[in-house]
């Protein structure tokens, strides 16, 4: 592990012009990075430079710009692969976002199920089981729920304890010899829980199931190394890690990608085509039909460079510190109940809470009047809300550019909320 140094938050903030914005007459306090992060000038500049200087379609033209664009796009793939410790850049598939990455996988299972010659690991039948958890974002729930319904497989899930942790004791019962796939969230977007992975991956291996992570909330915030994690796939999304919208990543082991039938078909994903038949390109091209998000890939690579320069261990340490401060300060607010772990251990700097007698929509509105931006609602995790008996929560989430002062402003604004509604 690299030695931890403190982030220079003032210098970081200078790279994010949006943080100087005022709402009304107050400076923005952006505490909604779990929904989407802000982008540093380095990312915007890289995309602009590419668009102004090298823009062309990739892998299609022999002209200079075409070659530069292809190099930039494939260079971004290699950059992302290195960032997550992937053994080969060919294991990195660019998608639109996490949601598409997970659907790509779910449709690979579905298409394999329809093909008697497909890899048996991917073919589902009644009695087979798919396992998720009760703390999934809908993006890692609904694709599997639908896949189960279409194939006759059974969807099962690992529950949540009252403290907002996975009920790991149930793992041996939930993951069984019939389990073919386990897909679970690395860091929960509503609860902020950082899930320990080793017990679940070990159990999945024991029963011969494929196992992977929704890493949408972990890759932006912690060092993630796919080789160390020992999983078969992870999915994440560019816009939550200082990168642009419109690009996400599916990383999967080469042998799994080889076995997977394509999801979308069309241009750029073929070897040969006749009117009757098509043979597919090797991964990753097999999964990247059509013109991909090229400038966005360039932006994502710049975001990865930015995060690497900060050092992911330092990012983690900064956020752990902010999580501790946020929890401590929020606990002082009258009538506030934290939904999720109440200690800054095994948790991210994303904290959901309810305020007695005040609906989160109203909390968010009053906070906005104080220029404090948080997210309110069910956070695309309705089953998690149900588990804790709430309809919605208010969620504050911090990232590399957030300060103690912004958390103080959140807490002060929550005091104002109480004044308006009681």
């Amino acid at each position: 592990m690299e030695a931890v140094t403190k982030l220079d938050v003032e210098a970081i903030r200078a790279d994010f012009p949006i943080l100087k914005r005022t709402i009304g007459d107050r400076t923005l306090a952006y505490l909604d990075s779990a929904a989407t992060s802000q982008k540093p000038v380095q990312v915007v500049d890289a995309m602009r430079r590419f668009t102004e200087h090298s823009n062309a379609n990739i892998s299609r033209s022999v002209h200079t710009l075409g070659a530069e664009a292809t190099e930039a796009y494939e260079g971004a793939r290699a950059r992302v692969a290195a960032f997550i410790g992937a053994p080969s850049a060919d294991e990195v598939v660019f998608t639109k976002n996490s949601t598409e990455a997970i659907n790509l996988l779910a449709y690979a299972f579905q298409n394999a199920t329809l093909d008697p010659h497909a890899d048996p690991r991917l073919r589902l039948a009644p009695g087979d089981e798919i396992v998720v958890t009760e703390m999934e974002h809908h993006a890692n729930l609904i694709p599997w729920q639908q896949l189960a319904q279409r194939t006759g497989a059974t969807l099962k899930w690992i529950g949540i304890t009252d403290h907002g942790r996975l009920d790991l004791e149930s793992v041996p019962d939930v993951i069984t010899e019939r389990t073919k796939l386990v897909s679970f969230t690395h860091v929960a977007n509503l609860l902020g829980t950082v899930n320990p992975t080793s017990q679940i991956t070990a159990r999945a291996r024991e029963v011969g199931a494929l196992v992977g992570l929704d890493a949408s909330q972990s890759v932006p915030h912690l060092p993630v190394n796919v080789a160390e994690l020992g999983v078969d796939f992870i999915a994440f999304t560019g816009h939550k890690m200082l990168g642009p919208t419109g690009i996400g990543v599916l990383w999967a082991k080469a042998d799994l990608l080889d076995a997977m039938p394509p999801f979308l078909t069309g241009g750029s994903m073929i070897k040969t085509v006749t009117m009757e038949q098509t043979t597919f390109a090797d991964a990753p091209a097999k999964f990247e039909a059509g013109t991909p998000p090229i400038a966005e890939a360039v932006g994502l690579a710049a975001a990865v460079d930015y995060l690497d320069a900060l050092g992911m261990e330092n990012v983690r340490a900064h956020e752990k510190e902010l999580a501790g401060y946020m929890l401590e300060r929020l606990e002082t607010v009258d009538g506030l109940a934290i939904i999720g772990p109440r200690v800054p251990i095994g948790r991210s700097a994303t904290v959901s809470f309810t305020l007695e007698g005040v609906h989160p929509h109203d909390v968010g509105q009053v906070l906005d009047a104080e220029a404090v931006a948080v997210r309110v609602g069910h956070h695309c995790a309705k089953p998690t809300c149900d588990r804790f008996g709430v309809n919605a929560t208010t969620r504050a989430s911090a990232y590399v550019y957030n300060t103690h002062e912004e958390i103080d402003r959140l807490v002060d604004a929550l005091g104002k909320v109480r004044k308006v509604f009681t």
Binding site: H361, G377, H378
Partner: protein
């Protein structure tokens, strides 16, 4: 932004002391509406009595705007003729879609004019309309269930 403009006294009063809350019998039409972005929900029943709205009863979870709006709805349409209730629905919907331009007619909309400020906040317009959508739907169902009233 001006919080007072959004959270008018009248709105906060309806929120804290909702009128006509709770589900009651009899009723001919019931509707359940959900705001998928925030999870707010309402179940609303309509009892039609001749050409009048005999009662509107409801149970809801939601923010101050959606709860106050249901309370105001109850006051406006309960006891009104079906035609008047539909006219209020049209007026209120128009006010909510006015993007801050409408003021609303206090003669007809009464307390509901306090929602004029809400129309400036696109994220909250849906909250204000949730109960009214339920009313519209429940009324259609009620009319459909009454023999000889399928023309409405």
């Amino acid at each position: 932004m001006n919080l007072d403009e959004l959270y008018q006294e009248v709105i906060l009063d309806h929120y804290k002391h909702p009128r006509g809350a709770g589900l009651r019998e009899p009723y001919e039409g019931e509707s359940h509406q959900v705001n998928p972005t925030c999870g707010d929900e309402i179940t609303l029943r309509v009892h039609v009595d001749g050409d009048k709205i005999g009662d509107v009863s409801y149970e809801n979870v939601g923010c101050s705007i959606s709860k106050a709006s249901a309370s105001v709805l109850y006051e406006l349409v309960s006891g009104a003729t079906v035609d008047d209730a539909l006219a209020r629905l049209a007026e209120f919907t128009e006010l909510m879609n006015s993007k801050g331009q409408g003021e609303g007619d206090e003669e007809t909309l009464e307390d509901a004019v306090a929602f004029a400020g809400v129309s400036k906040y696109p994220m909250r317009v849906k909250c204000a309309l949730l109960g009214w959508m339920a009313f519209k739907d429940a009324l259609v169902r009620a009319e459909a269930s009454i023999p000889g009233r399928t023309d409405a």
